[in-house]
Symmetry: C2
Amino acid sequence: MVTSVDEHSLHSGTGWTPGYSAEMTTTSQPGQTAHDSRSGASHEAVEGWRATHEDVLREAAEALAARSYFSRYPDSPSPRVQGEGAAEAGRTAYEQRLDRSFDLSQPTTGESVGDEVSPYGPRLGVSYPRLDIGAALAAAREGMRSWRDAGPRTRAVACVEIIERLNARSFELGHAVMHTSGQPFVMAFQAGGPQAQDRALEAVVAGLVEQERIPSSARWEKPGRDAAVVMVKDYVCVPRGVALLIGCNTFPTWNAYPGLFASLVTGNAVIVKPHPRAVLPLAITVEVCQEVLAEAGFSPALVQLAAEGDGERLAADLALRPEVAIIDYTGGPGFGSWLEREAAAAGKAVFTEKAGVNTVVLDSADDLGAVVGNLAFSLTLYSGQMCTTPQNLYIPRGGIATPEGRVSVEEFAERLASAIGRLTGDDARAVEVLGATVNDVVRGNSARLGELAAEAGGEIVVSPRDVAHPAYPDAVVRTPAVVRLDVSREDVYTRELFGPVALLIVTDSTEQSLAQFVDTVREHGAMTASVYSTSEEVLAAAREAALDAGVALSENLTGQIFVNQTAAFSDFHGTGANPAANAAYTDAAFVAPRFRVVASRRHVPA
Amino acid sequence: MVTSVDEHSLHSGTGWTPGYSAEMTTTSQPGQTAHDSRSGASHEAVEGWRATHEDVLREAAEALAARSYFSRYPDSPSPRVQGEGAAEAGRTAYEQRLDRSFDLSQPTTGESVGDEVSPYGPRLGVSYPRLDIGAALAAAREGMRSWRDAGPRTRAVACVEIIERLNARSFELGHAVMHTSGQPFVMAFQAGGPQAQDRALEAVVAGLVEQERIPSSARWEKPGRDAAVVMVKDYVCVPRGVALLIGCNTFPTWNAYPGLFASLVTGNAVIVKPHPRAVLPLAITVEVCQEVLAEAGFSPALVQLAAEGDGERLAADLALRPEVAIIDYTGGPGFGSWLEREAAAAGKAVFTEKAGVNTVVLDSADDLGAVVGNLAFSLTLYSGQMCTTPQNLYIPRGGIATPEGRVSVEEFAERLASAIGRLTGDDARAVEVLGATVNDVVRGNSARLGELAAEAGGEIVVSPRDVAHPAYPDAVVRTPAVVRLDVSREDVYTRELFGPVALLIVTDSTEQSLAQFVDTVREHGAMTASVYSTSEEVLAAAREAALDAGVALSENLTGQIFVNQTAAFSDFHGTGANPAANAAYTDAAFVAPRFRVVASRRHVPA
């Protein structure tokens, strides 16, 4: 995959709709108290959490099976929802993290690391203990025994408790995500807090359900000529080994939690290796994990933080350690492909989310204003730095059919430019959607726009604008640009241009648009695709194309749902069916290979 | 893994108990007729099969979920069970295969291949069309579209029809398995016929259940401030690509069917690459698959046979083809490890069953006669050529506690020798359990016994005996031998000695036996383990050891269930948790990665 971004990330769950404020309902009726522990250890704290959390697990499991709407963690930052003073307390908690060392319950070499600089400008100044890898892996393995013996349900309850406590720290996490990823604050709060927590809960439930599909015991009665042959068989889920979680820069929690919690609930210990420029959100996460695990009577070494300085390549070292059996990765295709090759060859289960060329097929529209409004928001949100942001917009040379007649390519581009302009015309409001560019690669993609257009024989049809951040003068903020080019220039539009750059690709027909969509995604991957058409035939053809391409399709999004967003429990994030990602949040293939079943069988009297 | 066998195999399902004869019950009440086809294609034949097969699928799914006893295909060869004349007709069908060409509906280069020689002596003389690989892969991909569009349930019904027709040909298959693997006939009939068919049905059901956990459509209703946001989301299971099935010499059908049917039911086409010395059983299988697929209106190219001559290494070539996305392999660790490394690095889902050092821990017994009787049968059955046959028998230096006092190591060896002698004393009866040695590697392991004992500083405590086959003078048949050696000789007993050779390893204590068991299996793998003890403490410690080693445990088997046997729907065959195999028949991890889910979503009015 051709790309220019080294390690980047994906995106926000559906629900990143400013102003949404459903109230949180606390479930409090007592749940099951059945204890599936083999260890006989007490884990008293878990018993206290069980009553509420069993209900959460049940409701979430029902939603996951039905793929219906479910959210445990409301994502409105309003004090009516999050509590009076929560925002201020969270901000203070974040500020108290800065310019000091971050302590964790894990073996350290005595050195410390930490180079984080906010995309908004300030240096964070947090120093993290450097993990003693050998001791950490030994402690992780040691801790796994009682974690395994506690059984799936106890593990799930402890995981829910972790998530609940992360939820209580959503504002602190929001600031940490904002100042490592460059996301605007409200998005950082929502995607980095409650929406990430919903994805975490989804992974816990998926892992629990998968393990509980195996009965803990079965009576096997084989009819015989004289008497039946009867055996009792016990089945125990055992972890696969130590899991390595490799975090990304742009969505440090949202993209980390599915793998972290899927591994944890299935009995594995997890070494969390954050992106060197986005350590803090995962350090806070690890702190909460260690606190809950210790309270529950388990080893805090079940979740440890392996922070590193920029450029140390610790992930590659960890990935090939014999103790490591599972790897979750979000980031650029370069290292992702290396993991898929080298770590997979070493027998590790490797789950990746990399990148691709996300596609929009434009055919016809009932309400073109709503189309360009929705698209403009998708392109503008977080400066297009979501792995799900559309890049390739296919449009027929003859334009788009609308109730007012055909809208030409030029006019479409003008209307898209206007819509982006309306979203970003005011600097102070613009930065609340755009955030800040995360690194120099993204800035370069935007800065080299003229070269790109010239090289492609195309034209800049939506020009970017530099935005001055009213609070952070060092932040580099640019509005999205669009370059028009011809469908023949596959050499240009099959590259991933991460950040605020999209391509308007002029085709001979919608049929050609769909064919190019399939070819490009099959070869270069995509996390998302969408189509705009008033024709049932075209929509049916687009669905067929999406099946062939192996990418999820959004049809005619014109309201407050955006193609960049997927909803936990309902939308699969990624498919695993094209080169952009080899896994999906959260299907059975994402959780089932993380544990194994070991049985024992014996005769009993008939 | 140190081993001396290049491509070999596993074993027979529990139920290989001579004389068992439960009647087959034909379910005939009408099943569901809901049609999940997206294609609108008629597939009339499938509708005819649906009524009976939906019931089979439902019952089998219930058994799989409960892991209770279930068998669709009775394994007694009695005419009362299989029908009068079935045995004779099957034998005739087999004989008519010999010395002629085997035609299939698939593209061929015009050449033919085929070198099969029965381990019992006769040359089979069957010539198979050489597959035109390029054309075959293109046809396979082409055929997958309507197979995908038919949906999981239609695919499952067609798969059941295939299995039913294979069942009707169990005698023909039995002879084909006997004369390629060297299994004795009754075992070849049972393990190669009905028990393999039960494992096939298990894989179909596991794949169907896994796909049906995803609803085909969901209504997603997100509460909003004013009105709810409502979307309809459709989910389609799409295949991963072309699957490659690499068969083995010793259990050509039993070890092939799980992967073949798991891939097929999840929408993939399958290229069947049999072991060059065991082509016929899979050729018959492919013929049946093609016949049913064509009748159902699907492409016969969904299942194709890639036969090759000895030593052509076609599997390695096919494994790295870009069209191939899934690989199932049973055979020696050499090529298995190559696949786990090279094919996994190329992004393929690789499922292997290789080999290991299967273990018995001897501690104490209530009825030593029953213990040695059961063990003797396990060692004798098919001359120890099952991947599940015990190899390492750990015994404490002080002997085994029994109600009659401690039985010394020497006395135990003598009693085991006597029990093997009783099973194999009469040549004509002996060959019905021993079968024939499959190849020169196995013969070598047995022939070099003296060297092995000398090298290990041990002693032959159960001597082998050459058996003359009354019907096949060219067959090489030897009874199992046991070499006693000290626990310090890890260098010897961590090798796999495939065939009729076991090791009696003298330890200081049962505690040491269990510790060695864990270490050896973790490093070298095992398909099976068993323990004999009258002490609940020892049994508990053995269960813990089995969890740590990642291998299934059988406790105190003294009757008609043997450690080498696993029962479809109840016992997992392999665990994936030690180096002997990276997969298990049949857990979710074996089926879930074979397909992906592609969704499409759109708004609908609230």
